[in-house]
């Protein structure tokens, strides 16, 4: 036989090794043949990266199915979703899977980023992959933002109206980008068509490229981060098949089963048909944007975007700041880092509701400074106050807590994350009609 025939038709003697040969090809593209035993402890990574990848794959599969039934036109989008929900065999299930797995993906990608930060997974040459990871999280959010418009219900219309208006506050290219996306004076056919093309073609292409690079780079960087082994000890290495694959397979089956059951019990929501003349009251964003929505209630839109923008830039730049390699692979860097994190979390849980209530009920910056333009009184000043507060927290940990750079950074990072979660909760549960503060029950 010629060489290519041999390759094509080669088959090992027994079933077991035959199956393995097939599996190896695929799996060993993603994994090395052997992995260090501690890397398999699931409480290290919590499997969050792998779960995110699985969900992304599920998005592609269900998304392509939806494309066969969905019409990207203002007249027919809503009815096509109704048809999917009520007439198409398994339509409600497929749409439910796409919807819920999109939501879950935001959670898992976010938690994955937190895990990588807390274990110092961006150290020892992993800065590039840290950036790619942040890019992937932003990509997932963009996927959700663009997918959101497609059902053309009230939620879709108003969330995108607010989102694109937000863009036009950005200096320089903001208005141009918003006009380009909208292709008209308000959210309409042009916007729907643009969002559809971006959602089903541009973003999936980017996703596949970036995810492939992300995985390849993990291996290139020497596998996932691990604590430095104690001197002169040897870490045991186990074969990927079956040790790692078994864990992954179990996790995947459990996850997919739960998702299917969940999607069967709770169909994806669909509100009333979009009506450009009547926003619902309250007109809330999707839950994962409610932290930003909450900021918008307190400051000028430009400041409300610059604050998370600054935080994100700082998080992206962490590998330049925290370079200590001794503590790689150790959660919170050290015991003291753990204490800083808990302190920061408690601080955020206490401080954020107080700030929200004080600003809502008593503090009216523009009224205090009537001479100043709104952009400064309600924009620059709250922005600087917030950034100043964050800097103060960092230096408190450094000076009073005597934390080193890495430990203080863990504190600040925890404060940011818990603040975001708190703001999101205020937006989800404590905002009622007219966006007034209410009790959720």
């Amino acid at each position: 036989m010629t060489n290519w025939k041999k390759r094509l038709f080669y088959s090992p003697a027994d079933d077991r090794s035959r199956m393995r040969a097939v599996a190896n090809n695929l799996i060993l593209h993603l994994h090395p043949t052997k992995v260090p035993a501690p890397a398999l402890k699931w409480t290290y990574t919590w499997g969050l990266g792998g779960i995110s990848a699985l969900l992304a794959l599920l998005q592609i599969l269900t998304g392509v199915l939806l494309m066969f039934r969905y019409d990207a036109s203002v007249e027919r989008a809503y009815t096509s979703i109704q048809t999917i929900e009520t007439q198409v065999l398994f339509g409600s299930l497929v749409r439910g899977l796409h919807h819920w797995s999109a939501n879950l993906l935001i959670v898992t990608a976010f938690l994955h980023l937190i895990r990588v930060f807390l274990t110092g997974g961006f150290k020892k040459g992993r800065a590039t992959n840290w950036l790619i990871g942040i890019g992937l999280l932003l990509l997932v959010m963009t996927f959700n933002f663009t997918g959101y418009l497609l059902p053309w219900d009230q939620l879709a219309f108003w969330a995108i109206t607010v989102g694109t208006s937000l863009l036009s506050y950005l200096p320089a290219a903001g208005t141009a980008v918003a006009n380009f996306l909208l292709a008209g004076p308000e959210v309409g056919q042009g916007a729907l068509r643009n969002f559809y093309a971006i959602h089903v073609a541009v973003l999936p292409a980017l996703l596949i490229i970036m995810m492939s690079y992300h995985f390849w780079k993990v291996r290139k960087d020497g596998g996932i981060s691990q604590p430095n082994p104690p001197a002169r000890s040897r870490v045991t290495r186990l074969t990927t098949i079956p040790h790692l694959v078994q864990i992954e397979f179990t996790a995947a089956v459990v996850l997919l089963t739960s998702l299917v059951v969940w999607a069967m019990l709770v169909p994806a929501p669909l509100e009333a048909l979009a009506n450009p003349n009547h926003p619902p009251n309250p007109a809330k964003a999707a839950w994962y944007f409610m932290g930003l929505q909450e900021l918008l209630l307190h400051m000028h839109p430009l400041a409300a975007m610059m604050l998370p923008g600054a935080a994100l830039t700082a998080i992206a730049a962490i590998p330049l700041w925290d370079k200590r390699e001794e503590d790689i692979g150790v959660y919170f860097r050290s015991q003291k880092g753990g204490i800083t994190a808990v302190t920061a979390a408690i601080l955020a849980i206490a401080l954020i509701p107080i700030l929200v209530i004080v600003d809502e009920l008593w503090l009216d910056l523009p009224a205090l400074m009537p001479a100043l333009p709104i952009l400064i009184a309600n924009g620059l000043i709250p922005l600087l106050l917030s950034l100043g507060g964050l800097a103060a927290i960092y230096f408190l940990f450094r000076v009073i807590g005597r934390a080193n750079r890495g430990e203080a950074t863990v504190g600040l990072f925890t404060f940011l994350i818990v603040s975001l979660i708190m703001l999101t909760n205020v937006g989800v549960f404590f905002r009622g009609a007219n966006m007034a503060l209410v009790m959720p029950f």
């Binding site: 292709a183 056919q189 450009p276 003349n277 966006m435």
Partner: protein, 163 residues
């Protein structure tokens, strides 16, 4: 040959390389620009975006606010009889404001901005008064040009149009 080469600023190979790079860049720019122009859609015109005839001036009593949903505006007749057409789009982040007659204000349900009857900001976060469409009164009927969105910081009497 080689001696000659040394006196030239670059040899043939480098020259061709540079030329090829420059041409590829140019081609990339052209393709990129053409793609952008391809994607830039024509504005789609609906009811909104043209000239709307609101009706006879007499049918709007002074101190009244009338909603024209298809034209996306509220027609306001001030107490002194002057007309003002305000775009219904909240100047904060674009939600549609509702006229609340009992409170004498426009209210935005999205982030709770409020505007007084003439469209000036009564409660932030809205950064400026509701936008205007030019109003003209021809042969006793009120005509609003919704193609021309005019921004303003606050209400001034000069914005009113009279019959």
């Amino acid at each position: 040959m080689s001696q000659q080469n040394n006196t030239l600023p670059m040899n043939r190979r480098d020259f061709l390389k540079m030329g090829a790079t420059a041409l590829s860049l140019l081609a990339a720019l052209e393709v990129g620009g053409a793609s952008l122009m391809f994607m830039q859609p024509r504005r789609l015109d609906g009811v909104f975006g043209g000239v709307v005839t609101a009706g006879p001036a007499d049918s709007f009593p002074p101190g009244s606010v009338t909603h024209f949903p298809d034209g996306r505006f509220y027609l306001i007749r001030a107490a002194d009889g002057g007309f003002l057409a305000v775009y219904q789009r909240c100047t904060h982040l674009g939600c549609t404001v509702n006229w609340e007659a009992d409170q004498n204000r426009f209210f935005c349900p999205c982030h709770a901005s409020a505007f007084d009857m003439l469209g000036s900001v009564a409660n932030p976060p809205a950064p400026r008064a509701l936008d205007l469409f030019p109003v003209s009164i021809t042969d006793g009927s009120v005509v609003v040009n919704t193609a021309d969105i005019q921004t303003r910081d606050e209400f001034t009497p000069a914005q009113l149009a009279y019959a």
